[in-house]
């Protein structure tokens, strides 16, 4: 069963500059040259993606590649110059102002790179804010807010002000606030980029833990490929406003669409991307505790190498579907980097 598509965009353009609208209607699919000749900035060019329900979809790219712009087109914080954005099959760009407010109040949540907390409100008030402006009864709003505050592990800090918290804690507030309305669709724009590496790692674990419970449809932006690989179900790579490849982390490593993508993926250790499923040999002859197929090589390497023989590999349902041995692992860890 393929999961249903939650959010998709078709040929979305965002051009900045004088008379960008007129330009796009005259030249419906301009090339990069056309655009720069017209003195226009192509922040997003002809982007089409489909995001499945419950998926963690990551948008990756260098600074200025148009990630934020694309995500803001998806949430219609920015009006795209052209194209359509389908949310549950409905074109968001046709929604009225009022409908858009309703959709954002109930179905979308967003986390920001620099947290975007309101400085004059306490943690609890910040988290309650989205409910407050919907005129949710105070007791109900407060109860919900306390729940999510607890969910992100900030209990006890409800009455602190943002500036009294560390960066990691502030982002937890941002996360709690974006979840308080129980949205279906969760946007995160470089949520951990402003944090120290250690905290970042901790927050990534936290994020995975949350998602395991909540099963949101997630659009997550990062410029850190390692982060993308850790978290993503699928990754879209952007360059100069264009989406150049959409694939799972493994596919990106194995079959990069262009030299640019290959360059991107080169510096990350294979073992952190490749999963056991891609390396196993079919059969069920091995002994021992089975390893799930989607386990990353780096997480299991030690066990496989120190084992006496091949180990069994199980699928999502716990059925043993194959075996993996020392040689395959060693090849990933010490080989040329080319997958076998």
């Amino acid at each position: 069963m393929t999961p249903k598509t939650k959010l998709s965009c078709r040929n979305v353009w965002k051009l900045y500059g004088a008379n960008a609208d007129g330009f796009l209607s005259q030249t419906p699919s301009p090339t990069a040259d056309d655009i720069s000749r017209a003195g226009i900035i192509g922040a997003v060019r002809d982007a089409s993606i489909d995001i499945a329900e419950g998926e963690i979809f990551i948008i990756m790219g260098l600074s200025g590649s148009g990630k934020s712009t694309l995500v803001r087109c998806l949430s219609r914080l920015i009006e795209p110059t052209g194209g359509e954005v389908l949310f549950d099959g409905v074109d968001l760009l046709r929604a009225s102002e009022k409908e858009m407010i309703e959709i954002r109040r109930h179905k979308m949540g967003m986390v920001f790179q620099h947290f975007a907390l309101l400085p004059h409100l306490t943690v609890l008030q910040n988290v309650m804010f989205p409910l407050t402006i919907q005129a949710t009864p105070k007791a109900e709003a407060e109860a919900k807010a306390r729940d999510v505050v607890e969910l992100v592990g900030l209990n006890g800090r409800e009455d602190y002000y943002p500036r009294e918290l560390s960066g990691g804690q502030q982002q937890r507030v941002g996360i709690a606030r974006s979840l308080v309305t129980e949205p279906d669709l969760w946007f995160l724009d470089e949520p951990f980029s402003a944090l120290d590496p250690l905290i970042r790692r901790e927050m990534q674990d936290e994020f995975l833990r949350l998602q395991a419970r909540l099963h949101k449809t997630i659009v997550f932006i990062t410029h850190d490929f390692e982060e993308a690989v850790r978290l993503a179900d699928r990754i879209a790579i952007m360059k100069d406003g264009e989406v150049i490849q959409v694939a799972t982390p493994e596919e990106l490593v194995i079959n990069p669409a262009t030299g640019y993508v290959a360059e991107f993926t080169k510096h990350i250790p294979r073992s952190k991307v490749l999963t056991v499923g891609g390396l196993m040999t079919k059969g069920d002859t091995a002994e021992g505790e089975p390893i799930p197929v989607n386990t990353r090589v780096s997480d299991i390497a030690e066990r496989v190498i120190s084992a006496d023989g091949p180990l069994p590999v199980s699928d999502q349902n716990g059925l043993v579907v194959g075996t993996i041995d020392r040689k395959a692992i060693a090849h990933v860890l010490f080989g040329s980097g080319e997958p076998s």
């Binding site: 914080l77 954002r104 109040r105 975007a116 004059h120 989205p130 402006i133």
Partner: protein, 664 residues
Amino acid sequence: MKTMPRTGMLIAIGLILATILLGYFGRDLSKALDARWLVKFPSAWVIPFKTHISAAMSWLVEEAAIGPLAFTDITRAIAWLIEQPYQLVLSLLATGFITGQGPEAQVVLPAISWIVVTTAVVALGQYCRDWALAALVGGCFLYLAIFGQWDSAMVTLASVLIAVPIGAGGGLLVGIWAYRHPLGEKILSPILDLMQTIPIFAYLVPILFMFGFGPISALVATIIYATPPMIRITTMALKAVDPEILDFGRMAGTTDRQLMWRVLVPSASHSLMVGVNQVIMLTLNMVIIASMIGAGGLGFDVLAALRRLDIGAGFEAGIAIVVLAIAVDRLSQAFAERMGQVHHVNPGSWITRHKRSAMVLVLLVLTWVLGQFSPLLLAYPESQTITTGAFWDNAVKYLNVNYFDTFEAIKVFFLHWFLLPIKKTLLGIPWPWAIAMLTLLGWRAGGWRLALMCGVMSGLIVVTGLWSKAMVTVYLCGASVILATIIGVPLGVLAALNRRAGVAINLFIDTLQTLPSFVYLIPVVMLFRVGDFTAMIAIVLYALAPAVRYAAHGVRSVSHELIEAGQVSGCTRWQLLRHVRLPMALPEILLGINQTIMLALSMLVITALVGTRDLGQEVYIALTKADTGRGLVAGLAIAFIAIIADRLVNAGAKGARIRFGLES
């Protein structure tokens, strides 16, 4: 702009020399040629704008109407709106609530006792910051009581308490409107520019005419004067809100109104409070000027004392203004800081949470009840006030007796070698030549548009018959600006280069800027008596600040790479200053001088009080006679001078920036 070729330079120097010579000998020359009209515009040629404007204004006030709604109805409505809260606050602070009139007047409720007001400001000081601030503001208010300035100070405070909320609130709303509508900002921006260049003097007379002599006129003028910076700061502060916060607000599903009032305005509150503080300072700055059109209080006391040349009384009231200004300024700054800070709400009942307010309220009721039996609780006893008037009088007498010759020598020196030659030259320049030169200058600096503007505006000044008064104005402001530049720019450079000097100079400048403009006049009049020299010193003191500030900022912001490049090529400190820092800071210095010119022009009213014969005096006379046409024409002439100076200097600064590659 291209660098001036050599011949161009020579021509420019030649023209300047010619102008100076022409000016210096203009009078004799015109006599010799029997063409006195060249320096003195003949009164027969004057176009009587004054009368036309007076007639138009009378029509406006007496007859103008849109349907049944007469113009006067509108002004009356505005006046009524302002008057209600003003009367309330005035009654509370100063006059008490009275029924009946004349001899039957009965006090229903006396004004709030000095004890309560002082306690309230102490409590507020402690709430906003700490006991040190509480002691400072408490001391300020006690001073007002003990030195017998209480009643006047409360009248002034009442107008501040009305003008500030209206100015700040109105500025906020207009600023928000401009932020929301880009077109609105486009319309507003030049108007604000203009309002900042036009000295307050220009609109005193029309306001007087529309609202009549009295506190309401004064409040209207004050509000008009104090609001523009708030509008600017609001728009800027809203624009400076982190775009992520804006995005968050919209993602949370806010309506436009929620986005503004629950997200943007609170997020910008820190900068907005800076604007409020500006409004407060400008309001206090207007205290004396406003008393010319009917504000009572301390401003009126100063003005009256100056008119009587009663140095002691003027000084006392002047110090009281400073004391009040310091108290209000410090309190509002601390309040702003406190608003921006984290503070946790204590649990408990209203009384435990609002101990201070409760205490003040209890005290208020107590003094009102017990005040029936002991008037001391309501008003500070007059017999216990200390007057320092005699002391100041004696001090001045002492200084004048013992150092008269020194002061006189300084004054005569400046008059003889500095002021009079400038005056003679400026007054001697034939007006056709002056118009031609200004037009030429405008053309060189900013193309034909600026040329046209300079030509038309200076021409208008001539045909209104105000040319020589305008020249006296230019002379007085010009001399003051030259002096302020000579003193201010080096101070600014020093402040930028030497940290310790910088701290001291900053403190000095900050203090100068907290003082309301008129206060400078009093000690100077004491020592030098009335006249041009006195006016000049007062203007220099008032207008010095921007010259210092901008110079310091300009020198500080010269790029490090340039400095290092200079050092690497072996410049000495002096060469570095001379060849790198100063030239690169020139545009900024020019902008500072521009601000200095604007401030100098806004001090013109002072020159009227000390008896110079310039445009300030013209407006002043018009004020006393309520002669709208005369006042408006003179006010416009001042505005024209300000605009010409502003545009020329700005164009010059822009040219300099382009030459140095700081702007394209």
